[in-house]
């Protein structure tokens, strides 16, 4: 016992707050967003390695425009701009990485404004939106600037980097780019091909994505079931059309499927809550991606697959309410 007199702090010095009085320290909404940015680093790194300054410029424009849009729309809605939650930066980065290297800078900027404005602010801000903001922005510019974003836009015969003179793997498969052999699976996996900035390297997406899942900033069920759904649909597509140049592995590694599975579909706000719901959602995304690739005139199907599944997410949530531990309470009279 110490001899010093016992001191009791005056009552007002004590904080009163509802419990629990402990919270998980290394997991906050902001940290989740920071995790996504961190996980995007390998993806962005590969993009810069392949597309050089095109990638740097595109990503920078999109992030800057997204932040600006967030500040502006928050202002209009008379809210303090919640830029510190980093969600606008994430939207900008994902949008940037989903654009082709050749898209003019204003496409990215307008896409970012559409993403934040239409995709998020119009619904009431973070947590309220139904659709993945980055995909809303991507869809917006896909329609508004169709030519800048069509399969052909990826290719410039006069481009300084040789890779940029080649058609994207999925355009090749569509046959829209003439009869050239598809790249092998290995370059597809590593990413040494043409395409949207962030989609080319399945490996980089896997590295970043595994980090996200390990941190639990993304729910692991979503990428797993997205890939499973795509694989299942690809098997069926192959059976129906054995002549297609796209094998199951091509479907998995080409295009934006890995980027979509780990970074887009996993957006918590627009995907279901429960593990079972996430599985249904992921599987749906995977199937739709392959379906759109094979059946529509678009070479890639990620944008519409995500938006479609986003729109049924409330339904999925309703259909996948987990069974409580021990089952529901039975109330007299069968009331709920």
């Amino acid at each position: 016992m110490t001899a010093e007199p016992v001191r009791i702090a005056p009552a007002p010095a004590l904080h009163v707050a509802p419990g629990p009085h402990l919270t998980v320290s290394d997991f906050t909404a902001r940290r989740m967003m920071a995790d996504v940015l961190l996980a995007l680093l390998p993806v962005a790194g590969v993009a810069v390695w392949i597309f050089r300054w095109y990638a740097v410029l595109q990503i920078a424009v999109c992030v800057a425009a997204a932040l600006l849009a967030e500040a502006l729309f928050s202002r209009l809605r008379r809210r303090r701009a919640p830029l510190d939650d980093l969600s606008a930066a994430v939207t900008g980065a994902i949008l940037g990485l989903s654009l082709p290297w050749s898209a003019p800078w204003y496409v990215g900027a307008i896409g970012a404004f559409a993403a934040i404005g239409l995709g998020k602010a119009a619904f009431g801000g973070l947590g309220q939106n139904i659709f993945n903001p980055a995909m809303v922005g991507r869809a917006f510019v896909m329609v508004a600037f169709a030519a800048s974003l069509a399969g052909g836009a990826y290719v410039r015969a006069e481009a300084a980097l040789p890779i940029l003179t080649q058609a994207t793997p999925l355009s090749l498969a569509k046959g829209t780019a003439g009869a050239v052999a598809l790249p092998g699976l290995w370059p597809l996996f590593l990413g040494n091909v043409n395409g949207s900035l962030g989609e080319t390297s399945a490996l980089a997406c896997l590295v970043g994505g595994l980090y996200l899942c390990w941190r639990r900033s993304a729910a692991w069920q979503i990428p797993v079931w997205t890939l499973a759904g795509a694989a299942a649909a690809a098997v069926v597509a192959n059976l129906l059309d054995p002549a297609t140049p796209l094998t199951v592995l091509h479907h998995l590694f080409a295009g934006a499927l890995f980027f979509c599975a780990f970074f887009i579909a996993t957006d918590p706000v627009t995907s279901p809550l429960s593990p079972r719901g996430r599985a249904v959602f992921g599987f749906g995304v995977g199937v739709l991606v392959v379906l759109i690739r094979t059946l529509s005139s678009y070479p890639e199907g990620v944008v519409f697959a995500i938006l479609l599944m986003n729109s049924v997410t409330p339904l999925i949530n309703r259909g996948t309410v987990p069974k409580p531990f021990g089952g529901a309470v039975e109330l007299p009279g069968g009331a709920k």
């Binding site: 004590l14 947590g127 409580p324």
Partner: protein, 450 residues
């Protein structure tokens, strides 16, 4: 989703908060000096409040009844020191309830120090002959001694021990999990007084006619496990080690972990043939039956960065919280929050002159640096709350419904099943006050069905 059925000594979901047991786990139970006065609350249990049965200025001895109620679900309260009764007063308990108290000013000879400790935990505890005691006698002794569940819920023990004949009980679980961070009172009890705990468990089993007794202890208390294992075989009691995970000590979760039985929604462990008793309650029952001593004292932990000398204290019921803190060296300069109970389920208290009750398992005193500075944000629908809820609920959905006053909707998401463990709010990255909102929904739903 079906719940995992493999024999795992834990339960699905839950969280791993920092354990923080280092503050007081190796500090032996210390007897608090007899205070100048105590204030005995007339309602310390789940059920009907007591009426004072002693007049102002009457002289009472330690253990004299000062309040009782006629209602079947209630428990009498007793003088925790010898002294003179004062005029009835009112106190605000940490859970926000205003209750009448009977203050007693210390006077005359007191049982204190080592003698008090020995009266509680020392001396001989008969291992034989327990099976000759009539169950009715045990139930009556528990009722007379004012025993309630000392793990928090404070449900009268004699009611729990007297189940209807249509519900046979085959197993008694003794809850020594103490899964709340910071608290170490139960751990000390198991290490210092294994015998009364186990004898009490025997008596619980005798009262309800159970054959099997299993003590559940979290794996982070190896000394307590060893000590209980040393004594338990003699009494035919099993000691089961369960995973260190919160809320391992919640009844339904413990029943599942140790017996793989699932308590149906809205039902009690009793419905699957189990009675769960906290270790402190078991020890108090042994004292009540074998020594005729009522529940006048309890062991509580005072720990955290906010107190100078974290301790486990044997305190009289009705001691002011501020005196318990003084006994633990007083608050530090940066003490910021005093919590009655552990940090997960405890209530923060504004006034430290509230009395200790039978259910006060400890005080957690957090310093400013322990408090979370993260702002509340919008729900990002990440589903972490869903992933951790031990009851398999959708906390975010119930909370959202509660926010909009949609009570029926909250009910359809099974709000009633929430055990208010706080896992969801602990894990929420947006720091939403989920438990608070769900509690409101539960209260409204209870009113609607009533």
């Amino acid at each position: 989703m079906s719940w995992p059925s493999r024999r795992a000594r834990t339960f699905p979901h839950g969280v791993h908060p920092p354990e923080e047991k280092q503050f007081a786990r190796d500090v032996p139970i210390e007897v608090v000096p007899t205070p100048a006065a105590v204030a005995i609350p007339l309602l310390q249990h789940l059920g009907a409040p007591c009426q004072a049965v002693v007049a102002s200025r009457a002289t009472v001895a330690l253990g004299d009844v000062v309040g009782r109620a006629e209602a079947p679900v209630s428990a009498p309260v007793h003088a925790s020191i010898a002294g003179v009764v004062q005029r009835e007063s009112v106190a605000t308990l940490p859970n926000g309830r205003h209750v009448t108290t009977v203050p007693i000013k210390a006077a005359g000879e007191q049982l204190e120090g080592q003698a008090l400790y020995d009266a509680h935990f020392g001396g001989d505890w008969p291992l034989a002959g327990l099976d000759e005691i009539a169950p009715a006698e045990i139930v009556a002794a528990a009722g007379e001694a004012g025993l309630v569940g000392m793990g928090g819920a404070a449900f009268p023990t004699h009611v729990k021990l007297a189940p209807g004949p249509r519900r046979p009980v085959d197993t008694v679980l003794v809850n020594g999990c103490e899964c709340e961070p910071y608290l170490t009172a139960d751990e000390r009890l198991m290490r210092e007084a294994a015998l009364p705990v186990l004898v009490g468990a025997k008596l619980v089993a005798r009262a309800v006619g159970a054959k099997r007794i299993v003590v559940g202890i979290e794996a982070n208390k190896p000394e307590a496990i060893a000590e209980m294992r040393r004594v338990a075989p003699e009494l035919g009691i099993e000691v089961g080690v369960v995973a260190t995970k919160y809320p391992q000590g919640a009844e339904k979760q413990l029943v599942y972990a140790l017996l793989q039985r699932i308590v149906p929604g809205g039902k009690l462990p009793l419905d699957v043939g189990v009675v769960v008793s906290n270790v402190a309650t078991a020890a108090a029952l042994a004292r009540a039956v074998l020594r005729g001593a009522p529940l006048t004292h309890r062991v509580m932990t005072v720990a955290g960065h906010g107190v100078r000398e974290p301790k486990n204290l044997l305190v009289p019921i009705g001691l002011r919280l501020s005196e318990a803190i003084e006994a633990a060296g007083g608050l530090t300069d940066d003490a910021a929050r005093v919590i009655a109970g552990g940090p997960m389920m405890g209530f923060s208290v504004a006034y430290l002159d509230a009395p200790v009750t039978k259910g006060t398992s400890g005080l957690t005193v957090l310093a400013a640096r322990d408090l979370d500075a993260e702002p509340e944000r919008a729900c990002v629908r990440c589903g972490r709350c869903v992933d951790v809820c031990p009851m398999g609920l959708l906390p975010t959905r119930i909370a959202l419904a509660a926010r909009y006053g949609e009570w029926e909707l909250a009910g359809s998401y099974h709000a009633r099943l929430c055990v208010e463990c706080g896992c969801c709010a602990f894990a929420c990255p947006s720091r939403l006050p989920l438990v608070q909102l769900i509690r409101v929904a539960k209260a409204r739903l209870a009113k609607m069905t009533a």
